[in-house]
Symmetry: C2
Amino acid sequence: MGGERGILLFAHGSRDVRWREPVEAVARRICERDPAAQVACAYLELVAPDLPTAAAQMVAGGARSVRVVPLFLGMGKHLREDLPLLLEQLRTAHPAVDFSLRKAVGEEPELIDLMARIALAQG
Amino acid sequence: MGGERGILLFAHGSRDVRWREPVEAVARRICERDPAAQVACAYLELVAPDLPTAAAQMVAGGARSVRVVPLFLGMGKHLREDLPLLLEQLRTAHPAVDFSLRKAVGEEPELIDLMARIALAQG
């Protein structure tokens, strides 16, 4: 609770509860690594909360900055074009809050390399 | 080309060409790390080849073992139930080949931890 720095994990969403487990596991891992951060998950579809709702909750919880991190391996055109617009709406709705948008995790060379190592690992 | 050990990266697929970039980047990284492996990508939907086609090409290319690695963050019920059946079909179609199915990369603790670190990183 509290925490002026907010981290919003943004994922696709699925009706399947187990689908969300990795997303929620990342949120827990962030809390372990940085207990001062305010962490929440938001979903593009099929699962609540959506991004505006989660962001509003975070701002109500005291966040002064919110970093949106897309947990997508690939970002389709839809997301590449719609997510920046969603961010603009968040900035308009909460002008006192500093919103930033990260690139999708799948675009991080470190993640690409780790997936390659996982694919090559025995066992 | 060649390579008795095959690694098949299995991803969701999207009409957007750029969506596939991370998947293809993982394939290239595997080739760099292990030039002796035969690596290919296959998709659940919207992009060719599908899994049976890619597996058949790999076997025709000399693969004696094929490891299927799901590049999914979350595996929905559909995939959890359908992918093992797809594997059974591959084993029936290519009885001389040793097929194995890895868990989804999103279930690997190392990947969860890296996504948490990416979310926390400055810049």
